[in-house]
Amino acid sequence: MDESMIVGKNHLRVDAWEKVTGNAKFTNDYTAPGLLFARLVTSPFAHAKIKSIDTSLALKLPGTKAVLTGQHFPFLTGSLLKDRPVLAVEKVRYHGEPVAVVVAKSDHEAKLAAEAIQVEYEPLPVVNTVLDALAEGAPLIHENLGMYKVVKPAAPEPNTNIAHRQKIRKGNMEKGWANSEVVVEASFSYPKSDHAAMETRCIRAQISAGGNVTIYSASQSPFVIKKLISRYFNVDAGKITVHTPFVGGSFGGKAAVCLEFIAYMASKAVNGKEVKLVISREQDMLSAPCHIGLEAKVKLGCTKDGLIQAAELSYWFDGGAYADQGLAIARAGAVDCTGPYHIENVWCDSLCVYTNRPYATSFRGFGHSELMFAIERAIDMMAKKLNIDPLVLRQKNAIRAGNTTPTQVVLTRSNIGSLIKCLSRLKEIINWDEGARIEIDENKVRAKGIGCLWKAPTSAPNATSGAVLSFNNDGSVNLSIGAVELGQGTKTVLAQIVAERLKMDMSKVHVTMEVDTRTNPEHWKTVASTATFMVGNAALEAVKDVIAQLRQVGSVALRCSPEQLEVGYEKVYLKHNPNIFIEIKDMAAGFMFPNGNAVGGQLIGRGNFIMQHLSHLDPTTGRGVPGPTWTVGAQAIEIELDKRDFTYKILRAASVIDAGKVINYKTAESVTMGGMCMGLSIASQEGFQFDSNGLVQNPNFRSYKLMRLTDIPEYIVEFVETPQIDGPYGARGLGEHGVIGIPGALANSLSIAVGGELNRLPLTPENIWKQVRGDSK
């Protein structure tokens, strides 16, 4: 086996056979005699006082074991801003907010009991949009905002509906505008939508007589669940074990910890018996946190020859009723507010705004597909005004090593990669030179649009990860990690990294699939496309540790110095004479000499990783280091539009992303195509539809539509490889990125096709028709 026999190769997914046979177990796939079931009662109003909750009928039903309401949870939760009761107290703030939970002997009895709970509400004025929320005299969604507990960097503004404001002040705006010969200014709208993972959220909880808490959750954050259960319920962290089996898609939505608190309390209410909290699709969409929306105002100033001089950006993220990660998204949106363009003078206010809508948490891209939609549309509008090719305008301004980001990080080739290369390659593969707009016939026009992307993972500055290697008596290795398999292929990629460094066949690397917080080393959370970077580095450390041990023990066994030994092919062997070796299987539990003497003991490799050199952002300027690296890329969409009715087909979708190093092209391509498809879905048809009372009109897949197999374009996915020096084998984060530039690219292609400016998503034929006609709503 030569170097790079495994990394860079298309290894089949290690979980594939489990998943094509129905064997792969998800949280909801478990049942047992005696298991109890919990169901939620949720609010039918977007904003209302709770006048009374009558649980008597529900409690009379024979299967009912317990009913809990907000009074049983005397605390507020939230990741940075503690603003959310576990179950609504005194008032509800969004349609679908959990108000009560019932526990019963069977799922159907739980559902019956939930339906029997009678809640009396008194409707309150509804704050239905971000603009309503920011208007003078708007009703306050959180009257006590000033009294909530806050963790840095959260900065809520009391007596308003602003949960957080992140400022970016870079350069000198006066100078920027003075140098600008052409100015473009426009508003953009990206609706609130849903993660729509195919597996709805599900949690099981039990508490043993000895006080041990066991939780199973379809989660991206099992270690965070452990911490929070410990914190809110005063349980020793060591007594809590969180398990996460396979997760049926998440896209950020299962990073939030919310329903786990309910499940824990539900179990506690029935003497610790195991309780499964089942969430319907409607509740998954409404009650659990959703995908943030954005209203944006962008003003760009540019010289006549197309060098951007100034950007003034107002991002109003629609966080919904509670801040959760919406606040961090507003911060991340500020961090990368300009898109991947070099701009010296930047003013940005990025707000997380409360509305009476389902609350938002992280979503694939963490605010970036939203802000990039606004930026990429504005860039195309600028190109049109300047009469410059939009691809050329992007090339001219593409950010690169030596430039600074909005938070004034000086970029290097390692941490920014090459957007220029991505754009050049994109230009070729989409045949840009044939023209962005081609008339097909009287009714049909074909058009191409471009959208760039960038994103830094904005983790906690001390986010950490670990890996432990142990060995079996056949010489194969077990990789124990805390990252969750969400579908992204992380277990396969991490196995490849270990196999490569050990020069071992992939079939000899066994990765733990289910995460168990008691036995797996902690991984911060499986978010932000950081698992390969963080866990990969930890795994390499663990391999390094194991190799050192193998050399040490090998040197005793083979009577040489450790430096003379090499590890690979399941052996420890002399570099200069590989015929002299010991098999790892004979060292896995210690090496025994023929006479019975033993040395070494079990081989256990240990590796860890912690983020380095990250810093908090200055609250007045935003200056600071938000993440270790950026991933950049360029994307394009080609559509064919019927000019009569604005229906269209998506013909081609292309992405060129700087991946640093592609560990497994097939999984990288697949996750990128998935992101592209999701971006097309969001931009072409998704979004909650609210009535004037703030009620969601499309809370399930009957009315909330996703892309289907029938709708897909031809995909072209390529990667540029500018190594990230501190990444495993040079790999950059890759996962979310496929989605980021797509809404902008689709809107650009359709804007070119209709010859107008389509600045409001989703681009359904009706919405295009309205925008072309100039309707304001």
Binding site: R13, N23, K25, H195, M198, G248, R281, M673
Partner: protein, 158 residues
Amino acid sequence: MPEKKMYNLYVNDEEASVVARPSDTLLHVLRDQLGLTGAKPGCENGDCDACTVLVDGKPIKSCLMLAIEAEGKHVKTIEGLKNTRIQKAFVENWAIQCGYCTPGFIMNGFALLNQHSNPDSETINDWLSGNLCRCMGYAEIKAAIKSVMTSDHADKSS
């Protein structure tokens, strides 16, 4: 207590006795009583096809069928497929990410290839138009189906 009834189902070529309410869906009975959790509840409203099983060879959303309706019929779930070419094709075409929608796709694809050994694109689209996948761009799934199709004959095994 609800009125439960005992009746027999014929699942994956085996007879199975179940005790269920007449208003229980086939999906719940397969999962909760028979431990066949390959059929997934994605929406329980007939909108996602993650719970697709074959009933007398036809793909059916098991969330929109009462279990009692299946009495006397042959039900086949993903667990009833053993080493079929379509399963292999999904593995080899990376047509899986989280795996939650996978059984539903495979059941529809399996039935499709049994009925049409060489379906055109329109037929593939029609048969798989009910299946939602949120992770992938669907291209791998299409490729997996096509790879089975181009290898001369449909998957008749199991």
